[in-house]
């Protein structure tokens, strides 16, 4: 929890003209976008990739992120973390039910509120893993823009609570990014949707991502994007659809082979991968095959029709209905009053997802926006607004969950109710119960339930420095401010003396600012090292296939090339092999290029031979 007592909220930034990018930190993929000449665009990495898989893997003790890590998801399952966003800002208790299905181990360290992910003999918090992803995103942006990038707008699911928002912000800080604004994903999407249209009307944004579901109802009016209500489920997404298929396949596999793929980490990862592939195929085709190599030579395969697939995922998709109806009710609207339903997120490509949305809102959903990119584009537009370049647009957002304090008898007493426009403030007076008491404990909660235990505990804090007086005499006014990021700030004042009272906070599931700063210091000293290492891994990844290909062709090379030519290829092959054992990216690159060059003639000869052989046969 960020506690600032009547202090400045952001350091003055008026002179900073460096770019502010928009980042969509997704469960499955992350993207970065930027507004150039008034148009938002997704920035591509050097190799032309727009989506960075939100996957982190390890090579030795070094992290690698993105497509490189994704390739290791099955091969090196116990060192590869994906969908970490589902763990961000949560307690072990929150995720206990879902972690069993993950190939990596999640645990709770005694004495710490943060859950950790185990990788080999090391462990990391979800914040650290997310920071690694954000660092890769940052690097991407820097390469694309050619300047250092230190400021960003980062999106989060609208239904993220305070801890999850705080954790996202801490991760960005760790990655060396100053977060100018946390924006809700569906709201960001609406900005990109409304970019060209200057529309007036009521829209619903139906955002089903990899791991989270959000629905937001907005009124668009002459460049104002006013959120009327938001609802969602932070544990519902495309991953759950994969999970359904994986569970069925696991049962079928154990029935057929007597092997449970859930007992083996690598097999479990492969199972999820195959399930995801099946889902993607069935979003285009009427039928597809689920294939999984269960053991040496044993390949399980099974044909799925789309109808069958839709039948099993339907109960999961139905879970989107209740949040949508609640959001409509909170907005005071009927489904028929909505003029457009905007579909966001990869899984909304599925026909059955579109059908569910259609049945809830009684109209054909609008699929005109790019479901993977629209959130990042919207974040870039918000970044442009904050940079002062866009005076036409303005987002008016709400807090998704009620915020309150624990009162006598273990009851949650709401101070700011859900769907209240932000920024928002609530003030409450507190007093003492015994004579000369100088401190008061407060417990801050977020949620919609009556009993304290059914809500999310955000923080406990202590008002200190109250002047010793008879019980009930002191009057301490506590202000709860929800800033434009949807993050709570607390300040306290002694009403009689006018003095500010100090507030000491223990976040329930997160890092304190000091912890982040400390980790940041440690991180900075490793940064250049990390960059060099990243290059090394990239070079190794591109050189390894070349070495393997040449290895297979050495016999052909001896047969087809002149002895001098062969010696040359053989020498370069050995050189590259040696370079791969070393740690010089430049040497590896040069070695790969030289070997490629030297084998062009061999490749030509092999093709000629193949053509001649084919001609002979016919």
């Amino acid at each position: 929890m960020t506690i600032q007592i009547q202090a400045h909220l952001h350091a003055p930034k008026s002179t900073d003209e460096s770019p502010i990018v928009g980042i969509d930190l997704g469960t499955t993929n992350s993207l970065v976008a930027y507004v150039r000449d008034g148009r938002p665009e997704v920035l591509s990495s050097r190799d032309g990739q727009r989506l960075i898989p939100s996957v982190v893997s390890w090579v030795g003790d070094r992290p690698v992120v993105g497509a490189v890590a994704r390739q290791k998801k099955v091969r090196d399952a116990c060192h590869t973390v994906f969908s970490v966003k589902r763990l961000l800002g949560r307690s072990f208790e929150d995720v206990r039910e879902s972690v069993g299905a993950l190939p990596y181990r999640v645990f709770e360290k005694v004495g710490e509120s943060l859950l950790r992910v185990e990788l080999g003999d090391r462990s990391f918090s979800a914040i650290e893993i997310s920071a690694m992803i954000l660092r890769a995103v940052k690097k991407n942006a820097e390469e694309a823009l050619g300047v250092p990038v230190t400021r960003a707008v980062v999106t989060v699911p609208a239904y993220f609570n305070d801890s999850q928002r705080q954790a996202t912000r801490a991760a960005a800080r760790l990655a060396g990014l100053d977060v100018l604004r946390i924006v809700n994903e569906p709201t960001a999407a609406s900005l990109a949707y409304g970019l060209d249209r200057k529309k007036v009307g009521l829209i619903a944004v139906f955002d089903l991502g990899g791991g989270t579901f959000d629905v937001s109802i907005l009124r668009l009016h002459d460049g104002i994007f006013e959120v009327l209500a938001t609802n969602g489920d932070t544990a519902l997404g495309g991953d759950d659809l994969d999970q359904v298929i994986a569970t069925i396949a696991a049962d079928e596999i154990s029935a057929k082979y007597g092997i449970s793929p859930l007992n083996d980490i690598q097999l479990r990862a492969a199972l999820l991968e195959s399930a995801e592939a099946l889902k993607i195929s069935l979003s285009k085709d009427e039928s597809a095959e689920f294939v999984l190599e269960v053991a040496d030579g044993k390949v399980f395969s099974r044909q799925w029709t789309r109808a069958e697939f839709e039948r099993v995922i339907d109960p999961v998709l139905e879970r989107t209905r209740k949040p949508c109806l609640q959001a409509l009710e909170d907005a005071g609207l009927k489904a028929s009053e909505i003029s457009d339903v905007v579909m966001v997120g990869g899984p909304t490509r599925l026909a059955s997802v579109q059908r569910v949305a259609e049945s809830i809102f009684e109209r054909k959903p609008n699929t005109s926006v790019h479901p993977d990119e629209v959130v990042a584009l919207g974040a870039a537009i918000q970044a442009d607004i904050l940079a002062g370049n866009n005076q036409d647009f303005l987002l008016l957002d709400v807090i998704p969950l009620s915020l309150g304090i624990e009162t006598y008898g273990g009851i949650m007493s709401p101070l700011i109710t859900r769907n209240t426009r932000i920024p928002a403030v609530a003030r409450e007076s507190f007093t003492t119960f015994v004579d000369n008491q100088t401190g008061v404990d407060l417990h801050i909660l977020q949620g919609e339930r009556e009993r304290v235990g059914d809500n999310r505990s955000l923080a406990r804090f202590k008002l200190k420095g109250i002047r010793p007086m008879p019980a009930g005499m002191p009057r301490v006014q506590v202000s709860f401010l929800i800033d434009a990021d949807g993050i709570l700030q607390v300040s306290a004042r002694d009403l009689d003396s006018g003095h500010e009272t100090s507030v000491e906070v223990r976040p329930s599931y997160g890092l304190t600012d000091e912890q982040v700063e400390k980790m940041l210091e440690m991180k900075l000293s490793h940064e250049s090292e990390d960059r060099a290492f990243h290059r090394l891994v990239e070079e190794r990844n591109s050189a390894e296939p070349v070495v393997r290909a040449v290895e297979r062709q050495l016999a052909d090379a001896r047969r087809l090339l002149s002895p001098v030519e062969f010696e040359q290829v053989d020498l370069l092959y050995r050189n590259l092999q040696a370079a791969l054992h070393g740690s010089e990216p430049k040497v590896i690159r040069e070695g790969r290029e030289a070997l490629n060059q030297a084998t062009t003639r061999l490749a030509e000869l092999l093709i000629q031979e193949a053509v001649a052989r084919a001609a002979e046969r016919s």
């Binding site: 604004r181 005076q391 209240t420 426009r421 403030v425």
Partner: protein
């Protein structure tokens, strides 16, 4: 074109949002008269205009004190917009603004006759579950009629105040304001009882 000047909200010299002071109230910020049926379309238009000028997003570049002032003023504006948007919150706010004391809702009890009818109903449905649905419905419609009457009663007091500006109407309103709350809570209890007995509404 702006519906009103920005000067009460933005400092003409420094361009920072003005701090919220005692002279500001939820009506004045929208240049609206303090009465029970404000022109909500005009309020919305003004809210959008002021948001454009005062929202923290407009001060992200300046940061510091400008941002702090913007957070404060925008929070106030948001609260004002929400309060004016609902009949119930508006009613409570206007009474408070005019300094009319509202008795605590704990002190307000339903009329004896209604309370007795409610207790009788609970006893009788436990004893004769077969006729429960009918009796619950009967009581339900009695509540609806009462709710309608109370609502109309409060609304007419509000109209009278709007026309005359006489404080006496506010004072009467304050006394009757809780009759709605016990009716609402009774209706909720009735629904709970229905749920416990597993009885659906007949009509």
């Amino acid at each position: 074109m702006l519906a009103g000047p920005l000067s009460p909200h933005l400092c003409a010299e420094c361009g920072f949002p003005q701090r919220v002071t005692v002279v500001d109230n939820y009506f004045s910020v929208f240049d609206s008269v303090s009465k029970f049926d404000p022109d909500l379309a005009a309020v919305q238009k003004r809210f959008y205009e002021l948001s454009r000028a005062l929202h923290p997003d407009r001060f992200a570049k300046l940061g510091g004190q400008a941002m702090q002032a913007s957070l404060e003023r925008m929070s106030f504006l948001n609260d004002a917009y929400r309060t004016l948007g609902s009949k119930q919150t508006l009613r409570a706010y206007l009474l408070k603004l005019e300094g009319v004391a509202v008795p605590s809702d704990r002190a307000v009890r339903p009329p004896l006759e209604l309370a007795e009818a409610w207790f009788d109903l609970q006893d009788s449905v436990m004893e004769n579950p077969e006729s429960a649905a009918e009796r619950l419905d009967e009581f339900g419609s009695r509540l609806s009629v009462l709710e309608c009457e109370t609502h109309e009663g409060l609304a007419s007091l509000e109209r009278e105040y709007n026309n005359s500006g006489e404080r006496a109407y506010l004072e009467r309103l304050a006394l009757e304001i809780h009759s709605q709350s016990y009716l609402t809570s009774m209706a909720r209890d009735l629904e709970r009882l229905r749920g416990r007995l597993g009885v659906k509404k007949v009509s």
